[in-house]
């Protein structure tokens, strides 16, 4: 059989004809398997949703309890049959609740990894490579210029700046889901013990992380903070708020942005960032290679990001590799540091015939 009989691309996203379900579809479908809670992967309005309990909880927080017709929670490592296709969720290390989805059918295993990172993260279960025939990888940072520095080094830059400018608030732009909580956890690990001020968009998700046993220290709503509390405080906000009128309540702040994109100077400057923190929840160039090799896959499909480079590398490694040219992904939280990617509805999606 050809792997495409088990999974192939459609305009709505990855579709399994054998199991009659989609993975991370960009439009409402009858049955969806969701890798993680970021809004470019987890959308509201599907008929039936299968995801980890944490991803289901996150979707309910963001879209309301009625975000789908029915839901089913998948435990990591537990095999579930969906119309005869074996489905198993495995940790992806990307954010809380994130999963790779392994599909088994007629002796063929395909792993759709969603977004993943092999590096350490106190807020997510570590990525575990899953042996497979076809590995489906993102390539957000799939270029050899992306080698993420150690998170502790980057958080050290923020700590140094706090010491150097104790009177200035430090606005740190970070995605509301995942990155923000990781930054808090890293700050606590680095010994920062002051209350951290939060933009309103972060409060519910941060509270949810706490219920999952992740200690983030004391946080307060930024809107309630007095000028004295704002001075020298770390304030976490969605990246879009850095340039929003919201930020004007902080006089002369230091503007930081925690993202893998900060590796590229032009990206940091475009966003008016003065303190770029290279902190990513995606695999960097070296990590992509290690992760792909660890699956022992024969074939690599690349969903979104820098497909060309990763496909080139994989081909040199002797793998069959091809880009899927998928659109609508990579715009995490709708406020990526990258320029607006094409809208999901715009260009025709190259469709892989089954």
């Amino acid at each position: 059989m050809r792997p495409e009989e088990l999974l192939h691309t459609t305009p709505q996203g990855l579709y399994s004809p054998a199991g009659d379900f989609f993975i991370d579809p960009t439009r409402p479908v009858a049955r969806a398997l969701i890798t993680h809670g970021h809004s470019d992967h987890a959308r509201a309005g599907h008929g039936r949703v299968l995801a980890t309990q944490q991803t289901l909880d996150i979707m309910a927080i963001r879209y309301g309890e009625a975000f789908a017709g029915t839901t089913q929670a998948a435990d990591y490592g537990a095999r579930i049959e969906v119309n005869g296709v074996g489905v198993t969720f495995h940790p992806a290390g990307h954010i809380l609740g994130s999963a790779q989805i392994a599909l088994e059918w007629r002796g063929c295993t395909i792993v759709a990894s969603g977004d993943y990172k092999p590096g350490t993260d106190p807020t997510a279960l570590p990525f575990a490579p899953v042996p497979c025939h076809v590995f489906i990888s993102e390539a957000t940072f799939g270029l050899p210029v992306f080698r993420h520095p150690a998170p502790a080094v980057e958080i050290g830059k923020l700590m140094d700046s706090l010491a150097l400018f104790p009177e200035r608030a430090h606005l740190v732009g970070a995605y509301a889901l995942g990155k923000a909580q990781r930054v808090m956890a890293l700050l606590r690990a680095a010994g920062h013990d002051r209350p951290i001020l939060l933009h309103g968009a972060m409060e519910k998700l941060t509270a949810y992380y706490r219920t999952q046993g992740i200690d983030l220290g004391e946080t307060r709503p930024a809107r309630d903070a007095t000028p004295a509390e704002r001075a020298g405080a770390v304030v976490l906000c969605p990246p879009g708020a850095l340039t929003d009128v919201w930020s004007r309540r902080f006089p002369d702040p230091v503007t930081a942005f925690a993202s893998g994109w900060m590796r590229i100077r032009a990206r940091a400057r475009q966003n008016g960032v003065e303190l770029p923190l290279i902190l990513s929840d995606h695999a960097d160039w070296d990590e992509l290679q290690v992760a792909i090799r660890a699956t022992g896959c024969e074939e690599l499909w690349v969903t979104h990001g820098q497909e060309d480079a990763l496909v080139h590398w994989a081909t040199q490694e002797g793998l069959r590799a091809r880009p899927l040219h998928m659109v609508g992904y990579g715009e995490e939280e709708g406020e990526s540091a990258a320029p607006a990617p094409p809208a999901p509805e715009a260009p025709p999606t190259p469709e892989v015939a089954p």
Binding site: P144, R265, H312, P339
Partner: protein, 550 residues
Amino acid sequence: MNRFAALLDRLAYEPRRNGKIRLIADYFRHTPDPERGWALAALTGALSFRNAKPGLIRQLIGERTDPVLFALSYDYVGDLSETVALMWPAPHGLNDTEPPPLSAIVHALTHMGRAEMPAVLASLLDRLDETGRWALLKLITGGLRIGVSARLAKTAVAALGEHAPDAIELVWPGLTPPYAELFAWAEGRGPKPETEDPAPFRPVMLSHPLEEADVAKLDPADFRAEWKWDGIRVQAARAAGPDGRHVTRLYSRTGEDISGAFPDLAEALAFDGVVDGELLILREGRVQSFNVLQQRLNRKAVTPKMLLEFPAHIRGYDLLIEAGEDVRDLPFEARRARLEALISAHPAQGRLDLSPLVPFPTWDALAAARADPAAHGAGEDAEAVEGVMLKRADSLYLPGRPKGPWWKWKRDPHSVDAVLMYAQRGHGKRSSYYSDYTFGVWTEAGELVPVGKAYFGFTDAELIEIDRFVRRHTVNRFGPVREVVHTPTEGLVLEVAFEGLARSTRHRSGLAMRFPRIARLRWDKPPAEADRLETLEAMIEAGLRRGTAA
């Protein structure tokens, strides 16, 4: 090197001018000679390494990385130094050792021969971290691009003590790195440095563009007007050296010595002083268009044939020095009178003449002259008039771009409506945006033919709109270039403004545009209604007629 690299890194992200000055001044204050002097040389663009060039960087990275991955990375990052700094496969452990100081790096890059350079540079790159490599490569490629002008760096030197930035500018010419005597003077520890060059560059006075709204506030009686010629602004300096022999130099407005490219002109000049003027090509007494001057500038070697076909000439605007006397603090009218006398005494075999004043009783009269220079004294040279310059009669010759004394009032540009055909990602700050646009107009056969390429003129907000349009309407990809939809009914019409049109055999359309830029996005206009090639050809014909009939 670490401190200097850290300074460049911080400067690259510091948006505030005052913040930049403080960072640089702070670095100067806490860094000893000669390290800080080499840093100042780097910031003012005074360093150039003959044997370490961008080509060598490409060679070194080419030996160490996969060419496809390098090409994709460079296209993505948009900056050679940064791409190499990030991709460089540094051996583990080596960069734990103390990196060499900036002075040692400058020394190595200056004195190593061509044969040793690859190994020297590779070893330096191995010993530096990402930021250090980036800073080193920026030094070699010569374009720091961290938003620091030479002026800003000198302002930071001034901030070390009591001197004004202009005072630093005035002693700057003739100084050489590492500028120990300049720092000593700036910090009040030493005497004012003396320049030894008999014909040094003096900082040029520049103007602000005049907006229609400014005009009402100005009194025509206070101003003198002259044509703004479309050539190269130059400073001609000529003076006797210690041995009594005269030295002649031609400088660009940024102080670059361009005498070597214009020996015909440099040899002919006979005055003693410093003249500010426009370098033009004259044939049989008639000023040629900028396109003609461009042809001479494009040639690398100076040949007798070229000297004959493209005779260079200076049209004098102003006088800075006469026979050793500094006249910059005289009012314009007094300088102008002395310039007239100097030029009539030293016409330099007809290669130096005076840019005439344009008399005007009212602003309306000047507007009329600007709109039609041919009928207002420019005669056959009108095609080479870019607009008019306004100078206060009492203006002193001040370095830099002071607001108020001088204004430039350019002629209205031409414009056409063209259709966006291809877009390419920009470099530097625009590396993630499709910001270079190739646009075309319709032929009689109903096809679009490219007529030019523009990469500025739009606002940041418009850039984002065009970028989105490009990404959503791509029909083809060629590496960094995307072809976008351009049919009679679908596509984006751009209003393109430009300064001139000329025939060209290098373009399929047979035309070349000078200084094209995006004036407006015409979302409202269907591509079918964009301009036709005949319209542009008619513009050329009209231009030629205007030139010859006057």
